[in-house]
């Protein structure tokens, strides 16, 4: 197979498989969380049952155009992932993701509902908190591999993490925000079964909410792909430790989720920006010094 065919195949696999992978991860998440809390927990397929039930519900909406915006949000996130897994420009992927999130914000703010407005503003705040680190991550890869192209980055001989430990720490830190895990689950939490009065998704009911959840699954697989990018090399065996690293990061997020309580946005902003500057910035500074 040519390079191009492989890239297209991977992108197609992403579109087809991502919801199942992320859904299963979500199932494990709930199982593991339950065990950490001394409960038995639901079946690992519970997220899929939730989605099925949500699709079966009556379609209620407070704003006619909301469904359009939600659907656009979904398509744009899928497009982001496709750009990434097809090996295109990393920075472009991140820009495209921000544009997609914009549509979620529009979908939730358009209803004039007090609870979802609250969630919207928190969502924007979260965006402002994580955006510098997201962009910085792309910059880091460029410094380490001399390219923004994902297809080139995966062909490097040494895993990027060797150059980018600080960037990695920063990225994993903001992943907690992106995955909507405690202590940073301000705009909404990641539990699909808590449907009512839930921040940014308050006004999304039934299939709208199911679509939002699936979109977030696509996003999770994209972001975990970025985590993998820190580890992967041209060596085919690197896929093994890459998958191990991704699972480890995911487990870490579950652990953080279970041992921390939600903070206020001020603290979130301060922490996220401080980590960005200290971990990311310091790493960046060193890289620019040694790698002229």
């Amino acid at each position: 197979m040519t390079d191009l065919q492989i890239r297209i195949l991977v992108a197609v696999c992403y579109v087809v498989l991502a919801p199942f992978i992320a859904g299963l991860l979500d199932g494990f998440d709930r199982k593991i969380s339950a065990r950490m809390q001394g409960r038995k927990g639901p079946s690992i397929f519970q997220p899929f049952y939730d989605i099925k039930k949500l699709f079966g519900k009556q379609f209620l909406s407070a704003y006619r155009l909301q469904l359009v915006l939600v659907l656009t949000y979904m398509i744009l996130v899928v497009m982001t992932g496709v750009l990434f897994y097809a090996g295109l420009d990393l920075l472009l992927c991140f820009f495209s993701l921000s544009t997609a999130v914009m549509f979620l914000i529009l979908a939730s703010s358009a209803t004039h509902s007090p609870f979802s407005s609250q969630g919207t503003h928190r969502e924007m705040m979260q965006m402002m908190a994580y955006e510098p680190m997201v962009l910085l991550t792309a910059v880091g890869f460029y410094l380490a591999c001399d390219t923004f192209s994902v297809n080139e980055i995966i062909k490097s001989d040494i895993p990027a993490i060797c150059y980018l430990p600080g960037f990695f720490v920063g990225f994993v830190f903001i992943l907690t925000i992106k995955f909507r895990k405690s202590p940073f689950d301000l705009s909404t939490s990641h539990h699909a079964h808590q449907e009512v009065v839930k921040g940014v998704t308050t006004e999304m009911v039934g299939k709208e909410y199911a679509m939002t959840t699936i979109t977030e699954w696509y996003e999770v697989v994209f972001l975990l792909g970025v985590v993998g990018l820190f580890f992967i090399t041209s060596n085919p065996w690197s896929i093994l430790w890459t998958v191990a690293a991704i699972l480890a990061v995911y487990f870490l997020e579950i652990l953080i989720d279970n041992v921390s309580a939600r903070v206020k946005w001020q603290l979130m902003l301060k922490l996220a920006w401080s980590v960005t500057i200290i971990a990311g910035g310091l790493n960046l500074f060193i890289l620019t010094l040694i790698n002229r």
Partner: protein, 640 residues
């Protein structure tokens, strides 16, 4: 070509007399449309004719250059007397000293200083080409908008003010002429003259309403810009006495030479300093913020097509000699810092025009930083930023002005559900805002290129400025954007005039066209420009990515439409938004604790305590002043 350029520069000055003497408002409007159309056609014709002729940089003299030299000398003094008169009239006499010093300095050097070699005074190249088109197209569109806007302004909203529309429209034409002159001159003395005209005209426009606030703000603009003018005057004096030339390009090539004299950077630094004041960088941002007391068309004019663009134009000229030296460092540090600081400050204000003002300062900061870095890639990004910023910002100002004329408020909080009340205005506002920050529209492409260029330059500090600035930029645009969509049952009549709509839709179409034709603009205009400046031109963003982005733009237009068609028959059951069960029959009212319906207000976050003006403005001014002072001292001190 020389005759054409002479007409291009002189005609707007002559035309300015017409609206000034015609007092009948209908006739004046017709004259302004006609003259505007002529200026626009002339500028496009000049630019296209030059490009068709091969797009080679040209140096030439105007016919009767001698006469023009004399006129400019006299003009300098006239401007000085005007400033002296006005500043004493409004009891700000101290400001006139700045003007006296610089005028006497320039005139004295010119008359009694050493003879300098006669050189061509006009220079035309790709940068001039772009500037002429921006001034001619965007500037004139603002002029056309101004006619309708000023009518509404005086007839509907500000009956208490003296109607000085004749003066206002005349000043707009003076501005066109001065800007054309400024971007075409290569003689520093000519450049200085046109520079001073723009300073004085903007001062007069800001003080239009003659309210106390307007007067104070206009004098603030005047002294800051005169300080910049003083910078040019010093540069002229140095160039003539030490370097024996009064030509901008000679000064640049002297500083860029391998064996450059140690003082060769001094005039560059002085010109760069002048450009920083004009492009409203910190610590000189105050004047542009104050400028919003003026009627909206003048804000649009100052922010997009003219005035501030004069500053960044000059910086782009100097970009070649700012790479990797103290001048460049001063410029890009101030620019990068301004980009971040202004976008943080924009978060905390809810006045639509003020948000636009901060956003202008912030974007100019990025342009200035790109110019200061002085790499080919950053210049490429800067030129695109200038183009996209001019179109989007002019459109946004016009739109906010129209909203204010219609609803009586320009506060963002009052724009709740604009899409339901005034769909056309909301549509324009949304395109403008999307153009300012959303992928894959214009501004973001430039930001991307700027980021890449700073990474290539291995400038860690600038990278941090850009990534944090991008995040804060995103925040203040997003919350405005989100406000426009939504529910608002209050209906009212749209008072926007047809000519305002013509101008606004023209901008909207232009913006979308520029985004879609972005690869062509890059290939046929901007790459020749950077090639001209740096000798060889190479693409900054790869062809593949550009194609992906154009696909994304189309996708962004197509996907929502597609989704709309898909969900049209979704069988939605409309319900009320969740308010804990206390809705009072619709989405905008709820039942309070005693069972009375109350209107529900949803408000954006402004976070005064985190990013507030009180907290950040003064420190920003201090930090940027320190940067400028330290580096200026280094440059001047290092020369001796």
């Amino acid at each position: 070509m020389d005759k054409l350029v002479t007409i291009l520069i002189c005609l707007p000055f002559v035309m300015a007399v017409l609206p000034a003497i015609i007092k009948n408002s209908k006739a004046r409007a017709a004259v302004v449309y006609l003259c505007g159309a002529i200026v626009m056609a002339l500028s496009v014709f000049t630019a296209v004719k030059w490009a068709m002729a091969g797009g080679k940089a040209m140096d030439f003299n105007l016919p009767y250059t001698e006469v023009f030299d004399k006129i400019i000398l006299v003009g300098d003094f006239l401007l000085m007397f005007l400033i002296i008169y006005l500043s004493f009239k409004w009891k700000k006499g101290i400001i006139s000293f700045l003007s006296i010093i610089q005028t006497l300095l320039v005139a004295g050097i010119e008359l009694f200083g050493p003879e300098v070699e006669e050189k061509a005074v006009i220079h035309m190249d790709w940068l001039t080409f772009i500037m002429i088109l921006i001034i001619g197209i965007i500037g004139v569109a603002i002029g056309i908008y101004a006619v309708g806007y000023m009518h509404g302004y005086h007839i509907h909203h500000h009956k208490e003010l003296t109607d000085r529309r004749s003066f206002f429209l005349a000043m707009i034409f003076v501005f066109y002429g001065a800007m054309f002159g400024l971007v075409l001159s290569q003689s520093l003395i000519w450049l200085y003259f046109f520079w001073e005209i723009t300073s004085v005209t903007s001062f007069l426009l800001i003080g239009y309403t003659r309210s106390e606030e307007a007067i104070n703000n206009s004098f603030k603009a005047l002294w800051m810009n005169l300080l910049g003018g003083l910078g040019i005057a010093v540069a002229i004096a140095y160039a003539i006495t030490v370097q024996g030339t009064a030509n901008l390009y000679d000064v640049i090539s002297l500083a860029g030479a391998h064996n450059a004299a140690r003082g060769a950077l001094i005039p560059i630094a002085m010109l760069a300093f002048a450009a920083l004041t004009k492009s409203a960088q910190f610590p000189f941002s105050g004047w542009l913020l104050g400028a919003m007391v003026a009627p909206t068309p003048s804000s649009a004019l100052l922010h997009s097509a003219t005035m501030v663009k004069a500053g960044v134009y000059l910086l782009l000229r100097l970009a070649v000699v700012m790479n990797n030296n103290y001048v460049g460092q001063m410029v890009y540090l101030v620019g990068g810092f301004t980009f971040l600081a202004a976008s943080c400050l924009a978060i905390t204000v809810s006045d639509g025009k003020k948000v636009l003002a901060y956003s202008t300062i912030s974007n100019l900061g990025l342009i200035v930083a790109c110019a200061g870095a002085g790499y080919q890639e950053t210049v490429w990004a800067a030129v695109f930023l200038i183009i996209f910023h001019a179109v989007s910002k002019s459109m946004l100002f016009q739109c906010v002005g129209a909203i204010e004329n219609t609803t009586g408020s320009r506060d963002i909080e009052d724009m709740q559900g604009l899409i339901m009340r005034f769909p056309k205005l909301a549509f324009i506002l949304m395109i403008g805002i999307a153009g300012m920050f959303l992928a894959p529209f214009g501004m973001l492409v430039s930001k991307w290129a700027a980021l890449k260029a700073f990474v290539d330059a291995r400038s860690a500090l600038m990278i941090l400025f850009v990534v944090f600035g991008s995040a804060t930029t995103m925040f203040y645009w997003t919350k405005w954007f989100a406000k426009i969509l939504g529910v608002n049952p209050n209906k009212s009549r749209d008072l926007t005039k047809p000519n305002e709509y013509i101008s606004m839709f023209f901008h909207a179409i232009l913006l979308v066209a520029l985004c879609v034709c972005f690869p062509l603009v890059s290939k046929y205009v901007v790459l020749p420009l950077t090639g001209e400046m740096y000798g060889n031109a190479s693409a900054v963003i790869s062809q593949g990515n550009i194609i992906v982005m154009v696909i994304m733009i189309v996708a962004l237009l197509v996907i929502p439409t597609f989704c709309y068609l898909l969900t049209r028959n979704a069988g939605v059951k409309e319900v009320m938004a969740y308010m804990g069960g206390d809705n009072a029959g619709d989405n905008v009212r709820f039942l309070d604790s005693v069972g009375e319906p109350k209107e529900l207000q949803v408000s954006n976050w402004y976070m005064e305590d985190v990013f507030g003006e009180k907290k950040l403005f003064t420190p920003s001014v201090i930090i940027s002043t320190l940067i400028i002072l330290v580096l200026l001292c280094t440059i001047v001190g290092g020369a001796f």
